[in-house]
Symmetry: C2
Subunit: 463 residues, 2 copies
């Protein structure tokens, strides 16, 4: 038994420390499974103090650690190595306080996103971060990856909903930075260091979330448009006509729309005809009496301006959900498309369709019968491409990434809009960040984790 | 002539470097003027390269530098010392690009806030950061201080409107981190290091701003309420009934409202009677047809619920401006109140009125005839107190701060909601941040500015 396992068992006891076959296979990797491995031990702390003890013991033996939340990450960020210790936050789960006067929630990092959403709703509020893995993904994981999702156009990334954090540093120090105020300019805003840095600068243990007012009414429509330039115009038009009511602008290329509406069980095409492009538009407001007419007027004038060819408008909240099911069925890709490579890119809004075309041409040269599906949170600059190459026992992910990211580099885009860098994109970070930027990131890593023991090699390949 | 002045004159020429009497007195301090001083030189670079050269030369001679924008700061953050070099960004002024498809603006740091607001508006957008000093304050200054202002409840602090930055580091390195995307999770979000750190970790030279859709219609009302508990209830009610339309909730205690509506030229009381509390509520939307009825319905139900006693509703955009003039006349304090000490505090919403009472009792013990005026962005946790002690040749600022901040400390509040720490609040930072938080701030400062040459002693008293 290695020294560190003996130390952990002695200090924390066997109920908190699993070894060997007692470590569930799911903790060997995250959703993408780059190089699954059984770590030296899996620690499941019950408290911040347990977690700090774990980190301190590992630091003393120079053993790297990785924090694990819901393990739904798409970049290998939560994957352990064989000579590391994995720390699962699953027992640090629960909501500690809701302040109704300000609209804030204090929550433990291992709490699933959906539990937070429901508790907010029960208290008359709304936690706006939302994504398909809501039932499994934890608040801590969404903070570590600065998760995006469906309503970024209105509410921003996770960063925007975080007021305060408690974190454990690389040496086991606990930092309580649980700010509860919407405004607080007392010194550096140190919580920013731990949002979106994928557990490489510290481990988030608790958070204060900013809650929003619960929307009283939701409008939605699926629209058919002639082409991508009409999408760009419609986005500007929707921003002006729906204002801050615009909560989603989810664009679907025909490759995506046709696949989902023909192959996914329970999903049918909401529009009768075929169109050059499709978009799901959602608007949230306070009251049907004021917000339904606004949405109807927006659609009507978009017709008159020739921006949309057809629209299916939700007549009920059931319709809203049915529309979202088209978009949310990305989790069905493995069934309806086959094993795939998922790409998550930022580009200028005006360039996205050209990019899709360009990427498909380049990919088809390498893989003539590849299938490409494209969709995205276009209003947030975020394009998703999912690629399937039929007839292979293993998808050529590295080759696909190399082809697509080279095109991203040329357009000064980002190789990660919302999924993070983790392991699988670390070699491509220089495609989207220059040497001075990466130098500054490395300087931060050296300052906060000088021995490179927190999730080393993730995000920054040299640290 | 000191070595550094000779170096600067040689490398940059006399048109960029002022010395002695050629340095305008306004550059000897910022708005609050803690300890005005004539610096060794005032450099007015024309470009990022000029500015980087200045910082590099100063670093070589170990001469500290301070960056200056509009000099409207309220914490001494832009004040030079006699043995420092001051760098004014006034010539790095102008808008470089607006991308209408995404809604972003690339701007030089020395551009005044109002110029940015106007350029956004001319392009059909809205830059939401707004504050009284808009005509003078620069974008760079608002970034360095993470400025708040009037519409934080809807649009957040300046941080939320910043997508990318170009900065010059302590050694003169230029870092181009001019991200243009609403989503970009490619590595650490290093721009966060330079927002709200008051020029102590780097000097911001250019920025990419996120623009919002221009509101099509603005509603506003001044309401009279019986007491502070009604304010807390009305805030919750307004969040629910106005949703994301709620753009301002500016609370005025009678001490503020009575003073402003009786003493400021051109300001009259919009309400006939007297009330226990007052609030200016603003709601922005897209269209009078939908948004005016929503605002009217909100006010009507607030009456029915007994939350408000009376309301003056704006009938025109002229009325909206007249209502704002009551709130914005804080710039008239020196005329209507006399020389004062301005306090800018964060507290839990529910505690604010108790705090005002408590602070007034404590202040009156020390200064029996002191006058206290209170108002605030209550929805953002932000309370302002302005204190005037009559009959003194110099206001007892240190004593007033010590009394009020001790009470803030006991309530775990913040000594700076939006004004920053600068020089005058640096001794009080430990009242609102614990040792682990300050230790982390110092670690960052050491990592980015190891020789403590960027605005040393500001924010962090030991660096």
């Amino acid at each position: 038994m290695s020294d560190i396992v003996a130390d952990l068992l002695r200090e924390l006891g066997p109920s908190l420390v699993a070894v060997g076959v007692d470590i569930p296979a799911r903790n060997h990797s995250d959703w993408v499974g780059v190089a699954p491995a059984e770590p030296l031990a899996l620690v499941r702390p019950r408290s911040t103090e347990d977690l700090a003890t774990t980190v301190r013991l590992c630091a003393a033996q120079a053993v790297p650690v990785v924090a694990q939340g819901g393990l739904t990450g798409l970049a290998g960020g939560a994957e352990p190595r064989a000579d590391w210790v994995a720390i699962s936050l699953e027992r640090m789960n629960g909501i500690e306080e809701i302040d109704p006067a300000t609209g804030t929630m204090l929550v433990k990092a291992g709490t699933p996103l959906e539990v937070v959403q429901q508790a907010a709703s029960e208290a008359g509020f709304f936690y706006p971060v939302d994504l398909g893995a809501r039932g499994t993904a934890t608040i801590g994981g969404t903070i570590a990856t600065n998760a995006g999702g469906n309503r970024v156009i209105r509410y921003g990334m996770t960063r925007q909903s975080i007021l305060g954090l408690e974190v454990v540093l690389a040496d086991g120090t606990i930092v309580n930075a649980l700010n509860r105020f919407l405004k607080n300019n007392a010194g550096y805003d140190i919580k920013q260091l731990f949002i979106g840095t994928e557990g490489t600068l510290g481990i988030v243990t608790r958070a204060v979330l900013r809650l929003e007012a619960e929307p009283g009414f939701t409008s939605a429509a699926v629209c058919g448009l002639p082409d991508y330039p009409a999408i760009v115009e419609l986005l500007k038009f929707a921003r002006r006509k729906l204002g801050s009511g615009l909560t989603a602008f989810e664009v679907m290329w025909p490759s995506f729309y046709d696949l989902m509406t023909s192959k996914v069980e329970g999903v049918r095409p909401p529009l009768a005809g075929r169109h050059g492009m499709y978009v799901l538009i959602e608007s949230q407001g306070t009251d049907e009496a004021f917000d339904a007419p606004r949405f109807a007027a927006f659609l009507e004038s978009a017709f008159e301006e020739g921006l949309i060819e057809d629209a299916a408008v939700a007549r009920s909240q059931g319709d809203v959900q049915a529309f979202w099911k088209i978009r949310d069925s990305v989790s069905e890709f493995s069934h309806v498309l086959g094993p795939d490579t998922a790409l998550d890119i930022s580009l200028r809004v005006a360039e996205m369709d050209d990019f899709v075309e360009e990427a498909n041409v380049a990919l088809r040269q390498a893989f003539p019968d590849m299938q490409s599906v494209s969709f995205g949170h276009v209003g947030d600059n975020n394009l998703h491409l999912n690629i399937h190459v039929p007839g292979l026992s293993k998808q050529p992910k590295p080759e696909i990434q190399a082809i697509v990211y080279e095109l991203v580099r040329r357009r000064q885009g980002s190789v990660s809009a919302e999924h993070g860098i983790g392991t699988i994109k670390a070699p491509f970070l220089p495609y989207s960040r220059n040497a001075a930027e990466i130098g500054l990131m490395e300087r931060l890593k050296d300052a906060l984790d000088p021995k490179a023991l927190l999730n080393p090699g993730k995000v920054l390949i040299r640290r």
